[in-house]
């Protein structure tokens, strides 16, 4: 039980996907203008990331490894992720049109989110079981959502601030992200195992 908690904490805070591992920076900079859209993106990514990491683990363990065709890993994983995003989109449209309206354009964008692909690859490099993989994916997705929402809040305040002309917009956003990342370095002291 303790191990599972540590995986969750370790991926969400200590080795945060965005600020420490540098994965998923494009949505981090792209859809963090408003807290609402950041929340939507975070939810959609959480769903896809958790499923993708687990399914890629199954694929690696039961298909690629027995057949000894691990050199096809990149192709296989990207196919799984693209298909998963497509199915998620179809499922959500049927099951809950409301949620589909909210998530809208963010769903297809997840295919090119390198956090999903990167975490799937990182997960199989570690001796995880299926449940641990599930938590690994879920924890990192939680970390992604947390940072995305925090940063969106920061940017809403920054939009009102009076910054030098050359720094307005993206440059000051990067500097704020740097400071946020500095704050997250403080979690390094937490135990991860």
């Amino acid at each position: 039980m303790r191990d599972y908690l540590f995986i969750l904490l370790g991926t969400a805070l200590v080795n945060n996907v965005v600020l420490v591992r540098f994965l998923g920076l494009c949505p981090f900079m792209g859809v963090s203008n408003k807290v609402d859209s950041a929340m939507g993106m975070g939810l959609a990514t959480t769903f896809v990331l958790t499923l993708a990491v687990s399914i890629c683990w199954l694929l690696e363990r039961y298909v690629l490894m027995p057949l000894d065709i691990q050199f096809l890993r990149i192709l296989a994983f990207i196919l799984v992720i693209a298909a998963l995003v497509q199915f998620t989109e179809m499922f959500i449209r049927k099951a809950s049109p409301m949620l589909y309206q909210v998530l809208g354009i963010y769903l297809p964008l997840i295919t090119t989110n390198c956090a999903v692909f990167g975490m799937a690859l990182l997960n199989i490099q570690q001796p995880h079981s299926l449940l641990e993989s599930l938590l690994f994916g879920f924890g990192s997705a939680l970390g992604f959502t947390l940072v995305l929402v925090l940063f969106a809040g920061l940017r809403e305040r920054l939009a009102l601030a009076n910054v030098p002309e050359a720094f307005a917009g993206a440059p000051i956003g990067f500097i704020a992200a740097g400071l946020l990342s500095l704050a997250f370095m403080g979690f390094v002291g937490l135990p991860t195992r």
């Binding site: 990207i78 692909f117 993206a170």
Partner: protein
Amino acid sequence: MSGNYRGVFVDGLWRNNVVFAQMLALCPLMAVTTTATNGLGMGLATTGVLLTSNVVIASCRDLISQEVRIPVFVLLIAALVSLADMAINAWLHELYKVLGLFIPLIVVNCSVLGRAEVFASKRAVLASAVDGLAMGLGYTLALILIGGCREILGSATLFAHASLLLGDGFAFLETTLIPQYKGFLLMLLPPGGFLVLGFLLAGKRATERRWERRAAGRSKAVTRAQQSPSAV
């Protein structure tokens, strides 16, 4: 036609630079640029993939139907990246160990798919090759610039371990600026990447504004010179 290619290069290196103008492909940019050498290696790998994917996609653009083009592009790029991954693992194993995860991640590098969709799927093979090369070089330049800044500030060296990672031919690049430098760890840690990119973006914007102002000043002087005889 040669003027056209020059425009493509200006686009790739400065005006429409992947990093400084489009703000794409940021993940590998931040993650590997603790030294300029890593930046150079990552940049060359990405340039190779961009160039070949542009050529392949431009040469079979008539065979791919409009509806399924995105999945086909993604699969083609994934195949090319698999090749690059294996090639770097075989011939530049030290570099492979440093870049690690970020070589397979070229698949989800939005700039590669972006160029395939915007440029290579509509143009001839040669033009696409030039575009891929220009965009890749622009990206490499950005990687080296950020890697260089972080390396100089963080450990006062430039292109450290180049001969180890890229082969003996690159040994001449290795320089140490300040011997016995104490080190500025922050620049090598993740926050340094964000801070350096923020300042470089602001610098690019300030430079462009100065050029604009100078151009505006010159054109104003020209119009005044043209108007003054008629006024007299």
